[in-house]
Amino acid sequence: MIEQFADPQHLAEILASTIRIATPVAFAALGGVLSERSGVYNIGLEGMILAGAFGAAAGSYAAGSPAVGLLMGVLCGLVAGALLALLAIRFRVNQLVAGIAINLLLAGLTAFGSRLVFGERAGGARVEGLAPAEIPLLSDLPIVGPAFFAQDPLVYLLVALTISGWWWLFRTGSGLDLRATGENPRAADTAGIAVFRTRYLAVMISGALAAAGGCHLVLSQVYLFSEGMSAGKGFIALAAIILGRWSPVGAILAALLFGFCDTMQLRLQFANPDVPYQVFLIIPYAAALIALVGLVGKSRPPASIGLSYDRETR
């Protein structure tokens, strides 16, 4: 295991694999941070990744252009987010129940849609993907070059969104408005902040971000849609949000940690064929648990998360 880190070639591969596995989770976690900071649980991330993946595949398949796919994917996420917002904010459905309902709904809808769009070839239809974009000079650096600077455009977008998201959330007035909405919506309302509009926008954008993670799966990783391809990434993202203490940067670092564990588990299996493979499969989840219990003992979620806001009640 140690010798893998000593060999620059292997180290570069481990880093690149970590980033590939982490990116969809990171997008979803970023979306989740936004939604939860505004006071709305987004358990529907898993379904929204799937919606984004389906939209991306269908768009790219129909138009033959990955850009159209990306647009379609993000649009699907936006609609899914709007549905969750409508249920959770307008109709005050329990947010956890609404999220689970969205997951079930989207799992079924995307499966149905893929048989409709791709027909007989469902699951086998290749679509156009995004070409990796190498950053000149930087991509020639040893080890970190291929891992960080020869990635696909969505990874750069993720980095840009994370940093700007962090700056917006903690350093601007409207970011403060969003956080106030999640902490104490009544006080925010009294102060003239448009609580409902803020929450609607946050949840919708959250859906779009999770869907961008799904777009990465399709347009940058496997170039096809298959049913249930989100495979639990949305739930890992929920853990990443908590581990990242509801901060965009923290959530992305947590996603990277999970991606690293997943990469290592695929590699460690060869070196230790006698150890049951299930032990390696639980590494990412065990890491999440240990990190949650040990490191973030004092983490504090937004005070009003999960509570629907009603102006008429006291």
């Binding site: 591969e13 590939r20 699951g123 086998g124 695929l266 060869f270």
Partner: protein, 319 residues
């Protein structure tokens, strides 16, 4: 999808006929319960197609349930038995326990477990002699590897995958002594991106022949094979038609194997015993097309191995 609405009228018709149907006469309806999606390009799609096509050919009603998780097995199987289906199929070895429980309560219904282990009066099994194909694929991989390292990717450990991995190893060793074998268990049949990462990892560790044996996740692995320019091995169908990197395919023809026993069922001859497909029945099990890179003498060697297996003089383990 538990109740297939289009088939509901048929189900009711079958219910009325139920009293008249007993073991021994030909079946008039059959249902299959599957763990995954019918468009997975693999095991479940084969199960669905196998039953539907045989139903059309031999003239009996069919119905299916897809994406049935373990806790729902008993309920899904009983539901079909209760509604009067003459033959109820559990699609996968994981249905064995549930079928055993349900079959006791419905003695007049015939049950089948595809890839099952254990028969009773009204429980039949159908599986394959997996090791024959595993050995042949391993032999091909061992002959064609330049690095001396070959890989296999599987989802979960059970008889099918255990036998396949073991015989793949044996075959590779027979072709080239000291072949290094990489085995990855992904724990997921359908996680396409994980399938791809698993293959990329094997390739980066030196594997130049990779055999993915999952369902949808195989698509991801094959993309890694394609991108990195190494060889792959196919499963279930002649995969070289889809991916030109495929050396040879292990065609476990679930459709053909099912057709064989469904024909017996339609004639009223299906019994509670094990129907094991092997190379001597090409409808159920065979190898696919050879990659043009494989030298003629290797092709001849592999063909002679096939003949030896058919004749019974070569019996790769585990059986």
């Amino acid at each position: 999808m538990q109740l297939n609405r289009r088939l509901l009228p048929g189900a009711f018709a079958a219910l009325f006929l139920w009293t008249g149907v007993a073991l021994g006469s030909g079946i008039e309806s059959a249902a299959i319960v599957m763990p995954g999606s019918i468009s997975d390009n693999g095991w479940n799609q084969a199960g669905h197609d196998g039953l539907t096509k045989a139903g059309e050919e031999f003239g009996f009603e069919t119905a299916y349930s897809e994406n049935i998780e373990q806790p729902e097995h008993v309920e899904a199987l009983s539901d079909y038995a209760r509604r009067g289906y003459d033959l109820v199929i559990g699609h996968g070895g994981e249905f064995q326990d549930a079928v055993k429980r349900v079959a006791k309560r419905f003695p007049d219904t015939m049950f089948m477990v595809n890839n099952g282990l254990g028969t009773e009066r009204n429980i039949a099994n159908a599986d394959f002699y997996f090791s024959q194909l595993g050995y042949l694929m391993g032999y091909t991989a061992g002959k064609m590897t330049k690095s001396g390292t070959v890989g296999i990717i599987a989802a979960q450990k059970f008889k099918f995958t255990n036998d396949t991995v073991a015989s793949y190893k044996a075959g590779a060793e027979a072709a080239r002594a000291g072949t290094r074998m990489l085995v990855t268990w992904t724990g997921d049949w359908d996680d396409v991106s994980k399938g791809k990462e698993a293959a990329l990892n094997q390739i980066s560790q030196g594997a130049d022949v990779v055999w993915p044996t999952m369902d949808s996740a195989t698509l991801g692995s094959m993309q890694a094979v394609q991108e990195k320019g190494v060889y792959g091995i196919g499963i279930y169908r002649d995969a070289i038609k889809e991916w030109p990197e495929i050396l040879q395919s292990a065609i476990l023809d679930v459709r053909g194997n099912m057709r064989a026993y469904l024909k017996l069922a339609a004639e009223g001859k299906l019994e509670g015993k094990s129907y094991k497909g092997d190379l001597s029945n090409p409808e159920a099990m065979r190898i696919g097309s050879y990659h043009p890179d494989i030298p003629a003498d290797v092709v001849a060697e592999i063909n002679s191995l096939v003949e030896q297996m058919k004749a019974g003089s070569l019996r790769p383990l585990p059986y």
